[in-house]
């Protein structure tokens, strides 16, 4: 008969118990943030410097590739990015190929644009969702307005808007700032515009899980900038001097991470304890039998 030790009890613990722990670990620091200092990564600092080096009046493509579920990670860098672009006097063209991308980015950015006094159609425009991303981006290499059927998200004519002045093809963009939770994402733009030499500077804003491959693209020079995950978003916010949602969430992020580490460690200690006991039992049976 198997002995019941604390390790056995812990191995058989109800998973719902773990769920409660992780909820507590996140909710408490959200309510009472301590504000631990951030470690700034070179890549984020360089990205901000790159954006600042682009002259005012330049056209910028803002890739609103996101869905509602990524809002926690992508809203902070999107807001901070749009703020910085507007402050630097860039003209922002927002397009997206996730069905909800443009709608969401519009919801996120409109309050900030209103606060800063940006005018729709003059300082920024939202193109709206289109199906079939590869063929549209390809058409846009030669004729941007035709590719988007000359219509913005509201169904108004793009060609009549002052913000579009001087935008004929994709190569007129100074850089692209692309949110990237998967595909379509940065990869889509690097294949369509970077690989064909239309746009040389692509700033990658991946979610945490895309960050792995994003690092490689950044190192190989495929992308020119990298702001990864909520952590990158928090650094970005602080670097441009508008700490916001991401900065506030970093303590909860820390606690959540440590809850996961604790699960990993405790789970493994329990596993080794049980295995050791089983081995001891086997040896005991062996020596008893012989």
């Amino acid at each position: 008969m198997e002995k019941k030790t604390i390790w056995h009890t812990m191995a058989a613990v109800d998973v719902r118990f773990l769920y409660i722990i992780i909820v507590i670990a996140i909710v408490i620091p959200l309510l009472n943030p301590i504000g631990l200092p951030l470690v700034f990564l070179d890549e984020v600092i360089d990205t901000v410097a790159l954006m600042r080096s682009i002259p005012p009046g330049s056209l910028v493509y803002f890739g609103a590739e996101c869905a509602a579920e990524n809002s926690a990670e992508l809203r902070p860098p999107a807001v901070a990015g749009a703020r910085l672009m507007y402050e630097l006097g860039h003209r922002i063209i927002i397009g997206g190929f996730w069905p909800d991308g443009c709608i969401l980015v519009r919801q996120w950015l409109t309050p900030y644009f209103e606060e800063m006094g940006a005018v729709y159609g003059e300082d920024y425009v939202i193109l709206g969702y289109r199906a079939s991303v590869t063929s549209i981006l390809d058409t846009a290499r030669d004729n941007f307005i035709l590719a988007f059927s000359d219509r913005d998200i509201n169904g108004d004519r793009l060609s009549s808007m002052p913000v579009m002045a001087g935008l004929n093809k994709a190569s007129d963009f100074a850089y692209c700032f692309v949110l990237s939770p998967g595909g379509p994402g940065t990869g889509t733009y690097t294949t369509a515009w970077r690989a064909t030499g239309e746009v040389d500077l692509i700033i990658d804003v991946p979610t945490g899980s895309m960050y792995n491959s994003a690092g490689n693209n950044y190192q190989s020079g495929l992308t020119a900038g990298l702001i990864g995950g909520l952590n990158g978003g928090a650094q970005f916010e602080q670097l441009i001097g508008h700490p916001g949602e991401a900065t506030r969430s970093m303590d909860a992020q820390s606690m959540g991470h440590f809850a996961i580490i604790t699960f990993l460690v405790v789970g493994n200690i329990g596993y080794f304890q049980i295995r050791r006991m089983e081995e001891q039992e086997k040896e005991a049976i062996k020596s008893g039998g012989s």
Binding site: E69, G182, A195, T196, G197, E198, D200, S209, M210, N212, S213
Partner: protein, 276 residues
Amino acid sequence: MDTTALSDALRPFLSSWLRSDSNRLSFTAFIFFAFFITMVIYYWRMSLGEKPMPKLRRIPGLDALDESIGRATEMGRPIVFVPGMSGFSAPTYAALTIMGYVADQVARYDTRMIVCYRYPEVLAVGSSIVQTSYLEQGKRDAFRADDHRFLSSDQFGYASGVCGILQRERAASQHIFGSMAAEAIILAEVGNVVGAIQIAGQTGSLQQPYLFAACDYTLMVEELYVASAYLSQDRLRIGMLAAQDISKSVLIILIVIGAFLMTFGSNFIDRILTLY
């Protein structure tokens, strides 16, 4: 060696017909493609002859397919098959090839297989693949069209649907192939909870750790593309794989030579790559 002169000499000739851009990789890409196509043709011809084809390295994940089917048959519970989250794309073709193999076994042993689709066009193809397997076994009536389920084109709508099926049908094994995204961990964990034996293989590397931890067998990254050649042992497909491997070897050799030359202060290979 002076590559600038070579580049200048080539430019007028190439610019009349070859597209170029600021990356200056067109000529290299063109040569590489030509080489790859030559290899494809070479192995195509070879596969028609009698010469022995290259042997493939063992892939445990694919060998385990039979075990999982056997277990489902013994327990009398269904297999749940997930052919990936993308529409027609390279990973989906690979997943459908594996599904064809599983369908042959399932039809032979009268095991039940439930396939969950995210795209209707994949459903159309998938159900006819399985139906063909049943026809070949002479069991036309044993094919159950209702087990081919289109769930939702929405990523998480699909995931929640698969979870529901895993739990309600008490699956004995789950096969996850094709391209997966964030929902991989949801499927694998729910599969674990119902106690299914799980085999997973997908092309992206980002979801791999979760699958590696939660599944009994995992195919790593490119191993999925090999499945079509490995399971069919078809000479033509093995030949295509060999062509691909040789092209890859050329690239590896280029990298190694380039790195050595770089060590001695010469970026010759780099300049050769960016001729035009």
